[in-house]
């Protein structure tokens, strides 16, 4: 069975590469990109099942990237990473079509749980 494809987007290279390796260990085919500019090209060239997207990237608004991903392919599920879990953040992520959001630093078990839920939603 093909491994689920996860794309991790975060400008913090050390964070993204380490988390990506941890997700690979857990059986996901995970790739990381470190800039907002690279996200859409990567999504187009190798369509992921789930994108984990940092909301605050240099020179870009994560919500705009979210909208562009959903516009390109609505079936891609996006989990937002944010520095704070406010009601505003919940509202913004829902209105942008995100599957859910998580606060950094993330608990790996909670993240994989969310990924599984997102994959479950895709299969419905």
């Amino acid at each position: 069975m093909a491994r689920a494809k996860v794309l991790l987007v975060d400008d913090e290279v050390e964070f993204a590469s380490t988390l990506s390796e941890r997700l690979n260990i857990r059986g996901y085919d995970t790739k990381a990109v470190y800039s907002a500019d690279a996200v859409l090209n990567k999504v187009r060239s190798d369509i992921p099942d789930v994108v984990i997207l940092d909301l605050k990237m240099p020179g870009a608004n994560g919500l705009d990237i979210l909208k562009a991903i959903k516009q390109f392919n609505p079936s891609i599920e996006v989990i937002l990473l944010t520095g704070h879990g406010s009601e505003q953040c919940t509202a913004e992520s829902e209105s942008g079509g995100a599957f859910d959001y998580m606060m950094k630093p993330v608990e790996i078990d909670s993240l994989t749980e969310k990924i599984e839920m997102a994959l479950g939603k895709k299969q419905k």
């Binding site: 050390e14 941890r22 020179g59 520095g83 790996i108």
Partner: protein, 210 residues
């Protein structure tokens, strides 16, 4: 003015928290990866080499978090008294460190040329901080991606001089001419400082006895 000061402190704190959260996230994931590797039982030789790299990464993140926390601690104590002898170089170093995340999010870099051996100035430290923040922030907000904000200090004609300039494409959004901003000029006057323009540079002159 009170609202603007609160907004300034809010932005500094938000920048700090974002920075520290990132360091903690890296530490957490690096430790998690070490745990994963132990649990899946890779060979000891690979572990030792990899683990040294991981430990170095964790140490690096802790040092960065400690450094920015020191800056925030110093910043917090700037509010202890209304007048104190301050080093403008230390104050600028502190402000740049605390504003790095704000600049980074806009993909703008700081450059500094802080002349050594400058005399101290006696001034209200937090209001002076605020004045500098407004000036640097106005430069940040008018620059497009990949711009540079340059801050230089010097001493001439009995006054400390801070030159703030910028390089890169300018976006009009948020561009304010601080030389004409009444509030900022009023604050400068209250502090005994003077703001002027010198070509592309905004210049703040501060008497050492202010």
């Amino acid at each position: 003015m009170k609202d603007l000061c609160l907004s300034f402190i809010n932005r500094i704190l938000s920048s700090y928290v974002h920075e520290v959260r990132n360091y903690l996230a890296i530490i957490k994931e690096t430790n998690g990866l070490m745990k994963d590797i132990i649990q899946i039982g890779k060979s000891r030789a690979v572990e030792a080499k990899q683990f040294l790299g991981f430990i170095g990464c964790v140490e690096d993140q802790i040092e960065r978090a400690a450094a920015i926390t020191d800056y925030l601690h110093r910043f917090a104590h700037r509010m202890d008294c209304e007048r104190a002898a301050v080093s403008i170089n230390e104050l600028i170093e502190e402000l740049i460190a605390l504003m790095t995340r704000l600049a980074y999010r806009r993909r703008i870099a700081f450059e500094k040329e802080l002349r050594g051996g400058l005399p101290l100035t006696v001034i209200n430290p937090i209001l002076f901080h605020y004045l500098l923040f407004c000036i640097i922030d106005s430069r940040l907000s008018r620059l497009d991606r990949n711009g540079i904000v340059r801050i230089a200090t010097s001493f001439s004609e009995g006054r400390l001089r801070i030159n703030v300039s910028s390089k890169g494409d300018v976006v009009q959004d948020g561009a304010a001419d601080l030389c004409r901003d009444e509030e900022i000029n009023g604050l400068a006057v209250d502090l005994g400082a003077e703001i002027s323009k010198d070509g592309n540079d905004l210049v703040i002159k501060v008497p050492v006895t202010a």
